[in-house]
């Protein structure tokens, strides 16, 4: 699929970027200012300020229950934020619905895989392409030429996207019948099909063995380099996070306790205390 990408404009970046030195002079893809949400009396996320630059791979880590998935749910408007603003490519997403946020450029995968299990692999990707395929409903019902042209394009795009992971031969299979690893990869392909500028991956390496994780790391970098999109990921596998994330943000009890590069995070005493618990620095899985 011939994708057109707008070159980011040269705009100064606020000081709370994860990797300020990389992003200076570029319009950030994502900018969260004072983002927060309360559930009843409980503050799940508070003062969440980050900036993710174009083509940046950012990691969001933290102990269980720190609010990582809540942040993803806020970004995709599954939850409406109580406070703060989310700017996507400089545009305020306030008042947008989940579907509109997706159309504006955020796509995501899920911690527990949520494919459309009874549909084929190809149809799953085509559902991701929903807003890229353009023909009115009547053309679809009456099968006018526009329908055939657009559906052919969708078919080709779906196969092309599947080929990123070498999955084009699985196109006709039922999504629910795929092996676990393939389902995880299909979720990423489906998210990519929505043509995002920011891809959110919620624990992409969960349940994968070390060699699969290594392959996934390569693929994440490959996706970034091919599509020139920003990727933000939640992950517990430290080898993956430290290996490919250019900026890392550590969350604990809904608060950001540290931001920086892999080296800075690993050396940060607050992180060692909160995230790695009583273990010494050398005890981390790095």
């Amino acid at each position: 699929m011939a994708k057109q990408f707008e070159k980011p404009k040269m705009v100064p970046v606020p000081s709370h970027s994860i990797v300020p030195e990389r992003d200076l002079g570029k319009l950030p893809v994502l900018e969260c200012q004072h983002l927060g949400i309360d559930f009843g009396g409980l503050t799940a996320v508070n003062e969440f300020n980050i900036t993710v630059g174009p083509s940046e791979i950012a990691g969001l880590i933290g102990p269980n229950g720190a609010g990582k998935t809540t942040v993803f749910n806020l970004l995709t408007k599954v939850y409406q934020p109580t406070r703060g603003t989310i700017l996507l490519n400089g545009k305020d997403t306030h008042g947008m619905s989940t579907a509109q946020v997706n159309q504006a450029g955020i796509a995501r995968t899920f911690q527990n895989i949520r494919l459309f299990n009874n549909l084929s692999v190809e149809d799953n990707v085509k559902i991701g392409l929903h807003n890229q395929i353009r023909y009115p409903m009547w053309d679809g019902i009456l099968r006018l030429p526009k329908y055939w042209k657009q559906e052919k394009l969708a078919h080709e795009s779906a196969l092309e996207l599947l080929s990123i992971f070498g999955m084009q031969d699985l196109a006709g299979h039922q999504a629910g019948s795929l092996p676990y690893g393939a389902q995880r990869r299909l979720e990423i392909v489906r998210a990519l099909a929505t043509n995002p500028s920011l891809l959110l991956l919620d624990e992409p390496a969960a349940g994968m063995n070390p060699s699969e994780t290594a392959e996934l790391m390569e693929n994440i970098v490959k996706i970034r380099d091919t599509f020139h999109i920003a990727i933000m990921l939640i992950e517990h596998d430290m080898s993956l996070v430290m290996g490919i994330c250019e900026g890392i943000c550590v969350l604990n009890f809904g608060q950001i306790i540290a931001k920086g590069t892999a080296e800075e995070i690993q050396a940060n005493p607050k992180v060692i205390e909160a995230y790695l618990g009583s273990q010494k620095k050398g005890g981390a899985k790095k």
Binding site: T76, V78, S97, T98, A99, N102, Q103, A107, R108, F110, R114, L115, F116, N117, N118, L119, D123, K126, I127, G128, H130, N131, I133, Y135, M137, G140, I141, R143, Y147, Q150, E151, A154, R190, A193, T194
Partner: protein
């Protein structure tokens, strides 16, 4: 010969059930709710067609199209006003609302159009060129078997609609969005699909089908009252469950089978025909709880 004649009548009646059942099954499959007002949308469609042709002298085809448009708008309105606010509510609340909506439509029709039965005109009568008589069907085997034009047209429409819907849900982008909503609404939303719009479209299609079913049903049976839609509605719901609710070919198969069983039971004994129909349903559900072509059992209702 009466066997063949009953079979023809059964398939014709079954086709009407199948068209109604397709509406039930679409809405259930995508919105995961039982729209019990569906049967009464049929009645509204038939009334619109009746008044359009009798009072305003419109061509029957135009009358049917007008009925489809009115029912589509009615279906979307019902969904917006009565069901959409309950999207997050327990399924029982939606079910009760649907039953309430059914009675609301019935009683509104009673108020507007009174309770006296209207005689629905025969649209399917053509002049025989040789004899000059008006014929309503073709006669085979020296009068042993009559197949009415309306029966032929009903079966044809039913097959066309079934094939059309299968292609629509399987091959078009809107159809795929509908199936995505059917499986996981939240994930569909995150793929950029407007779930509310998709559900509205489902109601629109279901209601347009109800209008067609209403016109065809009344063309066959020719009496139209505010309660005309309610029993066929329940039987079509039975047909949808019989074939496996949520499945389009299932609704088709269930509808045809139910119609044939009903006509044969009627031929045997008029009084117990409905009892036989529901007895068959119970037996089928005991043997195969998901219905004939049903796949998974859903947790709601």
């Amino acid at each position: 010969m009466s066997l063949l004649s009953n079979l023809v009548n059964g398939i014709s009646l079954g086709s009407v059930y199948a068209i109604i059942a397709l509406g039930y099954t679409m809405v259930y499959g995508i919105a995961k709710m039982l729209n019990f007002a569906h049967g009464d949308v049929i009645m509204v469609g038939a009334y619109i067609c009746f008044f359009a042709t009798q009072n305003f002298g419109l061509h029957p085809i135009l009358g049917a199209l007008l009925a489809m448009v009115v029912c589509t708008v009615l279906g979307i309105t019902i969904e917006r006003l009565a069901y959409k606010p309950l999207r997050q509510a327990p399924s029982l609340a939606v079910l009760i609302t649907a039953i309430g909506m059914s009675y609301f439509l019935q009683n509104s029709a009673l108020l507007l159009w009174k309770s006296d039965p209207k005689v629905f005109p025969t649209f399917f009568a053509f002049q025989d060129k040789a004899t000059g008589e008006m014929k309503t069907g073709i006669t085979l085997f020296d009068g042993g078997l009559t197949i009415t034009y309306v029966a032929m047209f009903t079966v044809l429409m039913c097959v066309v609609i079934m094939v059309g819907l299968t292609l629509f849900t399987g091959k078009t982008k809107m159809g795929k969005a509908m199936r995505a909503c059917s499986e996981d609404k939240a994930a569909a939303q995150l793929m950029g699909i407007d779930v509310n719009f998709t559900i509205s479209m489902t109601f629109a299609i279901g209601s347009a089908l109800a209008a067609i079913a209403g016109v065809l049903l009344c063309s066959s049976y020719q009496t139209l009252m505010p309660t005309t839609g309610s029993l066929p509605g329940i039987k079509a719901f039975t047909a949808a469950v019989f074939g496996g609710i949520g499945s389009i070919p299932g609704a088709f198969l269930g509808g045809i089978l139910l119609g044939v069983i009903e006509i044969f039971a009627k031929a045997f004994n008029t009084q117990i025909s409905d009892a036989v129909v529901f007895a068959v349903l119970i037996v089928v559900l005991l043997v195969k709880p998901t219905g004939l072509l049903g796949k998974t059992v859903r947790e709601k209702v």
